[in-house]
Structures are given as structure tokens and as C-alpha cells.
């Protein structure tokens, strides 16, 4: 019995030590979080549950909506994205190259299986089927090119080139494609894939290692002008 009571006493002592160790362990566990806050520039330094900062940018005019008078017209632009940094200027401006493309009404659907209304996918203003894409490839961040039928830039940018140089034999010459020169990912702009959260999204990856359709830029139309207002989350600029 004596041994038992001794055991019980030592057990109580251990339990007490375990009890007082909770706040100490808690503080130790909280320390990495504080260090991470210092290492990662953030707008709300003490909000521990805050997701990574989403860089923003001023509303920026990139095109006139009258330019998109027929399908597959493309306007390329550079969006100046601002993100916070712990540097003397407190922010960094990164250049996000982008494409604004007018998509034809008849979109081939593969992800949903049913013909989804295009309007839901591209969130376009008015009747213009224009969609703005970031040119940064969601695979590893290179900058992809646009190939489309009837491109005014000439035969260099014809879709047939996607078959010969980007290794995707299934090219159809009446569709538009994004194709990345680094690892040869090819996006079909008439087919629907799904993004990271599983939502349907235009630009199915038909070839190459890219995991999801290209990221889109948020935009609005005011007085017939196209303004870029922000960018979809994720990735590195």
C-alpha cells in the first residue's frame, strides 16, 4: 500500500506539473506564429487566422470595349499589382501581363458535361463575352502566349503552331489556345475545366503539366472602357 500511495503522490505531482506546463507549452507553440507574422508581411499583424494577403491594385483602364467587335479579338496589357512589403517603400509593384479575349458564344463543355451558360462562367458585363486572363501560367509562373484563328498579328500566332511546337496534336484551327513556352502546357479556351476549389472555369488544360485553368483578372466596364480591378488569389507574381 505504501508503494501505491507513493505512486499516487508522485502521480499527483506529475499531474500538477502537467497542468502548469499547459500555459508554457501554449506560449512556446504561439512563438512560431509570432515569428511567422514578422517574416510574412501582412496588413493585420495580430489577426492570427488571417489568410495570406491578397495583393491589390488601383483600377486601371486597359481597353475600350468597342475593340472587341468579333470573336477571338485579343488585347494584351500589363496590370500593375501592388503588394505590401517591409521595405522603405512599404510596397512592391509587380507587373502582371494579361490578355483580354472575346470568347465565342458556343463553348464546348467538358467538365460539367452539360452546356453551361457562358454568362455564368465568364461573369461578363453586358453582352460582350470578354474575359481577362493573367498571363502567368498556373503551373510554375512563366508567361504564356495566345494563339487564335484570324489573328491580325499574322500566321506566327495561328493555332496550328500549337500542334507543331507545343506538342498538342488535337488542335482545332477555329479555336483559341493559350500555350506556355516553358513546359508546354496548352489551355483550350473553348472548354471548361475546374479551378482549385472545384468551380467550373474556362480554359481547360488539354496538354502539359499545368494543374488548372489560367487565373483570371477581375474587371469592370464603365462608359465603354474596360478597367482591371484585381486578380484572383494564389500563385506568385
Amino acid at each position: 500500500m505504501a508503494a501505491n500511495s507513493l505512486d499516487r503522490r508522485s502521480l499527483l505531482a506529475r499531474a500538477f506539473r502537467a497542468f502548469i506546463s499547459i500555459p508554457i507549452l501554449g506560449s512556446v507553440a504561439a512563438l512560431p506564429s509570432v515569428i511567422l507574422r514578422i517574416l510574412k508581411p501582412t496588413n493585420q499583424a495580430f489577426n492570427l487566422n488571417q489568410p495570406p494577403d491578397q495583393p491589390g491594385g488601383a483600377s486601371q483602364k486597359v481597353a475600350s470595349i468597342n475593340q472587341f467587335d468579333r470573336d477571338w479579338v485579343m488585347v494584351d496589357f500589363t496590370f500593375f499589382q501592388r503588394n505590401m512589403e517591409y521595405t522603405p517603400r512599404a510596397e512592391n509593384v509587380s507587373l502582371i501581363p494579361g490578355f483580354a479575349v472575346r470568347i465565342p458564344e458556343e463553348v464546348v463543355t467538358t467538365f460539367t458535361g452539360a452546356a453551361a451558360p457562358l454568362a455564368e462562367l465568364v461573369n461578363m458585363p453586358g453582352n460582350q463575352n470578354v474575359l481577362c486572363f493573367s498571363r502567368i501560367c498556373p503551373h510554375l509562373g512563366c508567361i504564356f502566349n495566345f494563339f487564335s484563328p484570324r489573328d491580325p498579328r499574322g500566321p506566327v500566332w495561328e493555332p496550328a503552331r500549337v500542334a507543331t511546337e507545343y506538342g498538342y496534336p488535337g488542335v482545332q484551327t477555329d479555336r483559341g489556345y493559350f500555350a506556355c513556352p516553358c513546359h508546354f502546357s496548352v489551355y483550350d479556351l473553348t472548354q471548361i475545366g475546374k479551378d482549385q476549389t472545384g468551380k467550373p472555369k474556362l480554359g481547360l488544360v488539354v496538354s502539359g503539366p499545368a494543374p488548372r485553368p489560367p487565373r483570371t483578372l477581375e474587371f469592370k466596364v464603365e462608359n465603354g472602357e474596360l478597367f482591371i480591378t484585381g486578380m484572383e488569389a494564389g500563385g506568385v507574381a
Partner: protein
């Protein structure tokens, strides 16, 4: 078990951990500091010492570079231009720093392979092995952080590629933690590569190296060890090697970074090329898992699972085969990427099939090597071994197959399992679904062979059947699966054939091995000369790759 019993066994565990740590720490031999005697006749055993000497050279030249280098996006490139072309002997300092780092990595890679092939990682050297792998990774990390400081096109885009890897870690685990993007943002100091990134990488590059070498110095001091097991002449040769390479192939500058234009080709540093090639042909998420926690963990574990047989490489058949395969694949992938020969459609299937066959043969060799038990005349392997290996192979193929399909054919990326497809086809009664699995050959007809056409052909047309099959368009998934099965059957047949041969020869009288003549070793000085020539050639190759990559 009572509470006191639990407490006691916990104490025993801690005691065991303590003993383990003590014995391993005593056996610690990171830079071959305990191999002074054997290294006199074997230059490979002085590799660690060479690596340490190179590290010191890198630090010295690095301190000199720090004086003139300016870590801002606007002035970094210009300051390095000034160091390279205007400062007296600047090119020597920069060359010694850059090529010294390359030579350090070459030496560490040689040392890691030496430890692997000669089983130096066995008990009690597990800790030495893990630290060697860690130091190699640390060297790679220093190379990566140091590379961005030049702020040229290649550095910028390679860093972007590198910084995008962790974002794939967002998908598994707890999505609310945003772990992938957090890692990327902490690494870059923001959401993009900018001024904060360059100071961050500068600090990491500088501080990490200095801190780690301090720890190593403390280790040497506490043991009272000689730091470098190199003669003065050898140090001179190593330093001269770096200066020579820096003079013959000056360290390249490239063009200043332009965030709005991707260069034609992006090259990582030479030691990452093989992994980078993996990224080109694999699904990025699995490539990330495979590269970052996967590969180093597997390397650590080698020390624990490779315990059978003597330390001779040929007495450890599977480990030997695996090591050779990895070495050849690493060099092969690097060569393919350097020459831009990668073909994302045919590479994964061919490389996986070749690796599976080679590793199967290695495992078979292992079975045969260790299946003769003492006091038992009957030579194995038996039929049971063959069946077991066959089952393992089929299981491996069954796992690999959907992966391969998901990489190559995006539309079919839903993880198709052949047997599942067949069963669901039967249940749903869909003939169209079932037919290709029953008659896989029917899918071949859609390909048109145009043997005499020049240049690239339109979709569905090929110069030969071989090309069509390699491009993954001639065969449907069922056919490809059956080809995998055929390959497995071929290996099974090989095993049976091997068993038959062993059955036939087991009763033959054993030939007496000829008396071994003592092997004459060449003079150690000549060996050392050859060794330094080898390292210099490696370094020249690496430097020549810099010429390709920057221009």
C-alpha cells in the same frame, strides 16, 4: 501495465534515445576528419576535407564580394558587373566564389555516393549520413539563394519557378491554413519577387553559411581534431583549379531580370536540372511531394534499411542497382533538359517502364543473392519468390498506371483503375465502356501512317507506328495497360528461366576460385592527380553549362 510500469518504460525509451544519440555523435565524421590514415592511399576518402577547404574559400571570397555587392533590385546587376569587369581581380574573386560553390557541391555529391556505395552510412554512422545529406541540401539552398542575387533573367525566372513549388502544398492537409502560399510569401517577403526578396535571400545566403560553419568549427574544437586532411600542395591544387576555371570560362552574367518577359528557356542550377525535368513531366503536386519531403526522407532512411550483406556494393544487389539507376537517371534527365530534348508525352512512360524493369531485375538479383542459406545445398530462388515478385510488380504497375495516364492525357485524369473500369462496365452494361478492355486492339485503327511525309504532321498522322505509339495516340488506355501486363509477364518468364538455370546447375561440382594475386595499387600521388583531374573536368562541364544557360 501499471502507471509506474509506463513511467519506467518511458524512462527506458529516453535512456535508449540518449545512448543512441551518444554513440552516433561519437562516430560523427562529417568531413572525413577521422580518415587521415586511409586517405593516404585513397583520394576518395579526402573528399570531405576537400569540401571543407572549398567552403572556407567560398566564405573568404564571399566576404570580399560583400564589400562591393549592393542588394537592391536596381543596383544588384550593375554592382556585379562592376565586380566582374572593373575591380582589379574581381573576376577571380567572383569566379572562386561561384566555381567554389559548384566544386563544393560536386565534392558533397561524390561523398554522398561514396558513402552510399560503400555502406558507410551503416550503424553507427547514421547521423553522419543524415548530416551529409543535410549539408548537400544546405549547399543547394545556398546556391539557390545566392543565384537570385545576380538579378539576371535566369535567376529571376528560376526563383519564380522555385517559389511556385510550395503553392502546391495548399491543396492537401488543412486548406484553411494556406500553408503553401504562406511558405511562398515568407520566402519571398511578399506576394511577388521584389526588393524584399533580394534582401531576404541575401541574408539567408550570408548568415546561414557563416552560422553553419561556426557549428562545424565548434565540433572540431571540442574533439580537438585537425580541420582539413589536406597537404598544402593539395590546397594549392584545389585553389588553382578554381582560378583556372574562372580564367578559362569566366562566371557568366546573362541579361538583367525582366519580369515581363519569360526567356526562351529557363535553366535552373545544374544540380536541380534532374528534379526540374521531373517537374516538367509529372503532375506538379506529386512532383512537389516527391521532391521536398520525399527524396530527403528516403535518403535518410537508407541508413536504416540497407543493413544486409557486407559493405561491398556487389554484396548489396538491390541497393547497388537502385544507386546506379538514380545516378544514371539524374545525369540523363539533366542532359535531356540541357539539350531541350524532353518529350513530355513519351518520357514518363518510357522512363517509368525502364526503371520498373531495372529495379525488378535488381530485386531479383537480391533474392538470388541472399536465398542460399548456410548448411542448405538447395539454391533458391524458388517458384514462391517468382510469384511474390510478380505480385509486387503487378501492384506497382496498378498504382503507377493511373498516374501515368493522368500526366499525359488530361481528359482522363480521374484516376482510372483498369479493373474498376472493367467491373463498372460490366455492372452498367455499357458495351462501349467494356469493349476497349476486351478488344484493346480495336483502338489502333484511328492512326494514319504517312511514312514519306516531311516535317510535322497534322493530328492523327504519323511517320511510323513506333512514333505513333510513343506519342501516346496510337493506343488506347486499355492497350497500354495490357502492355504493362505484358511487361510484367515478360519479367515473370525471366524469373522462371532463371530458376530453371539454377535448378540445372545446382548439382554441378563447384569450381574452385583461382588463387587471388595481390593487386598492385598505383602510386597514391598518381591517384590523387587523377582525382583532381576528375573533379576539374566535372567543374569545367558545370561551368560550360553556365555558358549555355545564360546566353
Amino acid at each position: 501495465m501499471s502507471l509506474s510500469g509506463i513511467a519506467k518504460s518511458t524512462q527506458d525509451i529516453w535512456k535508449g534515445v540518449g545512448t543512441w544519440w551518444q554513440t552516433r555523435a561519437e562516430a560523427l565524421d562529417i568531413f572525413d576528419e577521422y580518415r587521415v590514415e586511409p586517405a593516404k592511399s585513397n583520394p576518395w576518402l579526402a573528399t570531405g576535407a576537400l569540401a571543407y577547404f572549398l567552403w572556407v574559400l567560398i566564405l573568404v571570397s564571399g566576404f570580399w564580394l560583400v564589400i562591393y555587392y549592393i542588394p537592391t533590385t536596381y543596383q544588384a546587376f550593375k554592382s556585379i558587373e562592376r565586380i566582374q569587369f572593373q575591380l582589379p581581380l574581381g573576376w577571380v574573386m567572383r569566379g572562386v566564389h561561384k566555381y567554389g560553390a559548384d566544386a563544393f557541391l560536386i565534392a558533397m555529391i561524390i561523398k554522398a555516393y561514396r558513402m552510399y556505395f560503400t555502406a558507410e552510412h551503416r550503424r553507427p554512422n547514421e547521423l553522419t549520413w543524415c548530416l551529409t545529406v543535410l549539408l548537400l541540401m544546405f549547399g543547394m539552398f545556398s546556391g539557390l539563394t545566392g543565384y537570385l542575387l545576380i538579378w539576371n533573367q535566369r535567376a529571376y525566372w528560376a526563383t519564380k519557378v522555385f517559389a511556385t513549388f510550395p503553392t502546391y502544398m495548399n491543396e492537401p492537409y488543412v486548406p484553411e491554413l494556406h500553408q503553401g502560399r504562406l511558405i511562398a510569401q515568407i520566402m519571398l517577403g511578399g506576394a511577388a519577387i521584389g526588393p524584399a526578396t533580394i534582401t531576404r535571400f541575401y541574408a539567408g545566403h550570408y548568415a546561414l553559411s557563416a552560422v553553419v560553419i561556426l557549428l562545424v568549427e565548434v565540433h572540431f574544437y571540442r574533439r580537438g581534431l585537425k580541420r582539413m586532411n589536406l597537404s598544402g600542395f593539395q590546397m594549392f591544387v584545389a585553389a588553382a583549379m578554381l582560378i583556372l576555371v574562372a580564367a578559362v570560362l569566366p562566371a557568366q552574367m546573362g541579361r538583367p531580370a525582366d519580369p515581363s518577359m519569360t526567356p526562351e528557356r529557363i535553366y535552373s542550377d545544374w544540380y536541380f536540372l534532374g528534379l526540374y525535368h521531373l517537374y516538367r513531366i509529372q503532375d506538379p503536386f506529386w512532383a512537389t511531394i516527391f521532391t521536398m519531403p520525399g527524396l530527403p526522407l528516403a535518403a535518410f532512411l537508407v541508413a536504416w534499411w540497407d543493413r544486409r550483406g557486407s559493405t561491398r556494393p556487389l554484396d548489396r544487389p538491390f541497393v547497388f542497382t537502385l544507386g546506379i539507376t538514380l545516378l544514371v537517371y539524374w545525369l540523363g534527365f539533366s542532359t535531356l533538359l540541357m539539350n531541350n530534348l524532353a518529350n513530355k508525352r513519351q518520357d514518363p512512360i518510357v522512363f517509368t517502364a525502364v526503371a520498373v524493369v531495372i529495379l525488378f531485375l535488381g530485386a531479383w538479383w537480391e533474392v538470388r543473392h541472399f536465398s542460399k542459406r548456410p548448411g542448405e545445398p538447395r539454391p533458391f530462388p524458388t517458384m514462391l519468390d517468382a510469384v511474390g515478385m510478380m505480385a509486387a510488380l503487378v501492384a506497382v504497375c496498378y498504382v503507377i498506371y493511373p498516374f501515368q495516364m493522368s500526366i499525359i492525357v488530361r481528359d482522363a485524369s480521374n484516376g482510372i483503375r483498369p479493373v474498376g473500369e472493367i467491373v463498372s462496365g460490366m455492372i452498367q452494361g455499357g458495351w462501349e465502356k467494356l469493349r476497349p478492355w476486351l478488344f484493346p486492339i480495336t483502338a489502333i485503327q484511328s492512326v494514319k501512317i504517312v511514312p514519306h511525309a516531311m516535317g510535322a504532321l497534322p493530328a492523327g498522322q504519323y511517320h511510323s507506328w513506333w512514333e505513333a505509339i510513343l506519342q501516346n495516340d496510337a493506343l488506347n488506355m486499355a492497350t497500354k495497360f495490357y502492355l504493362w501486363v505484358l511487361m510484367a509477364a515478360g519479367l515473370f518468364a525471366f524469373s522462371l528461366w532463371d530458376i530453371a538455370i539454377w535448378r540445372r546447375i545446382r548439382n554441378l561440382p563447384r569450381a574452385q576460385p583461382p588463387a587471388e594475386e595481390p593487386r598492385l595499387r598505383p602510386h597514391p600521388d598518381k591517384l590523387y592527380a587523377l582525382y583532381y583531374v576528375f573533379v576539374t573536368i566535372c567543374l569545367l562541364l558545370v561551368a560550360a553549362f553556365g555558358l549555355i544557360a545564360e546566353n
